[in-house]
């Protein structure tokens, strides 16, 4: 393999995968390659996408956040909890003006992220364990607030962003685009973004260069939690209800989107561009499998296999790189 292709393997492999999937589903199903379905796919990946933006920061730092789905769920429930519900919803909730509910919800997810950050940087708990605990804490908050019930009402602004449209375009897709763009700008054009890459690339060297590594790691945990929280509010509006375990599938999807896109689990390589490709691969796959005749139980297995292949490529590319370095 020529050196250039090998060095770009991380970016090329996901792109080729995406094209192959689109061609495959386009050929197998006449209903797949339509404009409407394209819009469907974008809408379907929106909630995952907003979570994945924050997760990209965390994974670039060679950390992980397993609490994203739980924090999304909790934040969605918090915003519903502070909104006036219909009579038949049997929750002792506290109705507040929409803006107050949104602010409280954002503060809540930022606080949970801060707890993650303190656990990781001050106490020194590995992020894998810390966020595993937070995953349970988030689930606990959900359970306490809704007590097995389902809430339906959210503030108007959240409802518009999650379920409304502007002309033919769903607002939720625009929100996703804004988050992706903001994430990309921060990572590529700001000093903080450079610190994220450098901390992920060689944490010790970043520290010996006078970078406040703990501050960077703490910040990415908070960013991840806030992105999850926003995704949670949008999701509740998008699905039309707030309940327990609503976001359980989103943890794996968000991690898969980041990693399948080619961002290195070892930190320092990748970015929002990779996450976009990863999101599209997952979106096309989930959507496309509905368009072809396939055992719905087999779908789960196929998704697992695709994720496995992406992980193999991810680790393999890293190994090739290290080989080159040691030679």
């Amino acid at each position: 393999m020529p050196a250039f292709l090998r060095s770009q393997m991380r970016n090329i492999a996901p792109f080729v995968t995406l094209i192959a999937l689109i061609v495959f589903f386009g050929v197998s199903s006449p209903s797949f390659a339509t404009l409407d379905n394209g819009a469907n796919i974008l809408t379907q990946i929106s909630v995952t996408g907003v979570i994945a933006v924050g997760l990209t920061f965390v994974i670039l730092c060679a950390e992980i956040d397993l609490s994203v789905a739980a924090i999304a769920n909790a934040t969605g429930i918090v915003v519903a909890y502070f909104t006036l519900q219909e009579n038949y919803v049997n929750i002792a909730n506290v109705p507040l003006p929409g803006i107050a509910a949104i602010v409280l919800a954002v503060l809540a997810c930022a606080f949970l992220g801060l707890v993650n950050a303190v656990g990781l940087t001050v106490i020194g708990i590995p992020s894998f364990i810390m966020t595993l605990a937070m995953m349970q804490i988030g689930a606990g908050i959900c359970a306490l607030l809704v007590r097995g019930q389902i809430a339906y009402a959210v503030p108007d602004f959240v409802a518009t962003m999650g379920a409304g449209r502007i002309g033919p375009v769903p607002w939720i897709v625009i929100v996703l685009a804004v988050f992706l763009l903001a994430g990309h700008v921060v990572l590529t054009y700001t000093r903080f973004g450079r610190y994220v890459y450098m901390t992920g690339g060689n944490r010790e060297a970043a520290e010996y260069s006078g970078v406040n590594v703990k501050l960077v790691l703490g910040a990415v945990m908070v960013i991840s939690a806030v992105c999850s929280g926003v995704a949670g509010m949008l999701g509740v509006a998008h699905f039309g209800s707030a309940q327990q375990n609503e976001f359980d599938g989103y943890l794996l999807d968000a991690i898969a989107a980041v990693v399948v896109g080619g961002t290195s689990l070892f930190g320092g390589r990748g970015g929002i561009g990779n996450t976009i490709i990863g999101l599209l691969i997952l979106g096309v796959l989930n959507n496309g499998l509905d368009h072809v005749e396939i055992d719905s139980f087999l779908k789960i297995l196929i998704r697992g296999l695709i994720l496995l292949v992406a992980l193999i490529i991810n680790v393999y590319v890293q190994a090739v790189r290290e080989n080159e370095q040691s030679n």
């Binding site: 700001t190 450079r194 060689n202 060297a205 260069s209 406040n212």
Partner: protein
């Protein structure tokens, strides 16, 4: 060279004999045609500078290096170990400077590591505690076998590791720098144990930089220099000066400057103090360190491996939080809670390992700008400014290739070291701290680094160079302090100093 040792131990049989042993790493000779004899019931001191070949020889004996030229016999039978396990089975054990004890297990479990006595498949704790107690007592070590290893002093842990090696059947024990972390009473206790081991007919190789200790305990001393065995001599008949003279060599043939003569120190006692260190201490690593670091002066800190230099360097850059003492810059006390605080206070640091300093997969310019990004732009990156600054450094330090987009990993080691220096020089710091700045560099690159540091000093920067290589300190420093076991034990200022005196002080 006369075979002095032959006469020393009379007709005691050789336990281990090596003849004509050579070993090279990638074309560089580490051992050249070495003969070495270790007798039964002997304590054999092994001395030489870093890289003289002591460790290589011991690693061959301990089965770590398996490919070498020459012959080795054990009790008269030729042997060639294929692995460390082989050597251990033949009765050769090693106690490393970094102990390999398990701190969370009990003393008894450490002694019996990997072969606990069992009864019916279950660990027989009573037998283990009793056995460990007896075995340790037989060596004169009094310690509760139920105590947690990590709660004991380093000195005791080391004795217990020695006991474990003996317990596993070793008849030859190699001790690597056993006294570097010990207090004087602990050294005496170690010596007592070693004498009782010797009395039982087992042999000990004692590798150390601490010549007083070597001469105090050894029966025979062997001196290495540049991969050759220079001489073996009865320890009773020689003194420290005699040993140092042979370790360094006089009028020899090496290409590099050897610093055997006197170097005049150009100290500047009246220059203003930039960084004042007072009573700095950090646990076992170092204690009560006080230094004045002056503008326009290079302060050299010299000491053996494990003397606390590395930790001191980290404490000066906020990487290691000191337990005691203060730091003051320009008379103002500073608290360095992390490396970012140290950078803001005007301290720059180049660690001993380039790997912990540089970003190999990033281009040169990002490596150079990382420490000064905040001065280039608070929020937004300024890539064109970054590249301009990097190009200026690349030219000033003659970094090859001069293109700043090159990935750092494709530069040579010397050029990488220059990048590590350059990252601090855009806005010169008040104090530049360097740990082992020329380690592993070829002569040309070394000269470049020396020239750069001299120029920075002349521009008024306060520089601290910490090194375990006397040449490094002598080639750079205007004033030298010597560290030993975590404390400052000597200072050379405004006088002439030679490598002999430096080694003697440490």
């Amino acid at each position: 060279m006369p075979q002095a040792s032959e006469a020393v131990s009379g007709d005691v049989p050789a336990r281990l004999a090596m003849s004509g042993v050579s070993k090279s790493f990638g074309g560089v000779a580490a051992l050249r045609d070495v003969d070495f004899t270790l007798r039964a019931g002997e304590i054999h001191g092994l001395v030489g500078e870093n890289g003289a070949g002591k460790s290589t020889l011991m690693k061959i004996i301990a089965g770590v290096h398996t490919r070498y030229q020459g012959r080795m016999t054990l009790d008269g039978h030729p042997v060639h170990f294929r692995s460390a396990r082989d050597a251990l089975a033949a009765g050769i054990g090693m106690v490393h400077q970094e102990l390999s004890v398990v701190p969370d297990l009990t003393v008894a479990e450490n002694v019996y590591l990997g072969k606990q006595p069992t009864r019916g498949g279950i660990v027989d704790w009573r037998a283990m505690f009793e056995g460990a107690r007896e075995h340790l007592a037989s060596l004169g070590i009094e310690v509760d076998p139920r105590a947690r290893m990590g709660s004991l002093t380093i000195g005791l842990q080391q004795l217990i590791e020695l006991a474990r090696v003996l317990f596993s059947g070793a008849r030859i024990v190699i001790l690597d720098e056993p006294t570097s972390a010990l207090s004087p009473p602990e050294v005496q206790r170690l010596f007592e144990v070693l004498r009782s081991v010797r009395a039982s007919g087992r042999s000990i190789v004692f590798i150390s930089h601490f010549l007083d200790d070597v001469l105090a305990i050894s029966d025979t001393v062997t001196i290495f220099r540049n991969g050759r065995r220079i001489v073996s001599e009865a320890a009773a008949g020689v003194d420290k000066a005699w040993v140092i003279e042979r370790m360094i060599g006089r009028g020899h043939e090496e290409l590099e400057e050897s610093y055997t003569g006197n170097i005049a120190l150009d100290s500047k006692p009246r220059a203003p103090v930039v960084l004042a260190v007072r009573g700095l201490g950090a646990g076992r690593a170092f204690a009560d360190v006080s230094l004045d670091i002056r503008a326009g002066e290079v302060l050299g800190v010299y000491g053996f491996m494990g003397c606390g230099l590395i930790e001191l360097a980290r404490a000066l850059f906020g990487k290691l939080r000191p337990k005691a003492g203060t730091l003051a810059i320009d008379g103002k006390t500073v608290r360095l809670s992390n490396t970012a605080a140290a950078r803001r206070a005007g301290i720059a640091f180049v660690p001993e390992s380039r790997r912990s300093m540089l970003f190999y997969r990033e281009p040169v310019y990002k490596n150079m700008s990382i420490a000064v990004l905040g001065r280039i732009g608070r929020l937004w990156l300024q890539p064109s400014a970054e590249r301009a600054i990097a190009r200026r450094h690349a030219e000033a330090l003659s970094i090859r290739p001069p293109t700043v987009e090159t990935l750092l990993q494709s530069l040579s080691g010397g050029n990488q070291q220059k990048v590590a220096l350059a990252k601090w020089l855009t806005w010169p710091p008040r104090v530049l701290v360097l740990s082992e700045p020329t380690r592993g560099m070829d002569v040309g690159a070394k000269d470049d680094v020396v020239a750069i540091l001299r120029r920075l000093r002349d521009e008024g920067l306060a520089v601290v160079v910490l090194s375990t290589e006397p040449e490094t300190v002598l080639s750079l420093a205007d004033r030298i302090v010597v560290m030993k076991k975590g404390r400052i034990v000597g200072e050379f200022a405004g006088e002439a100093v030679s490598k002999d005196r430096l080694l003697e002080a440490a």
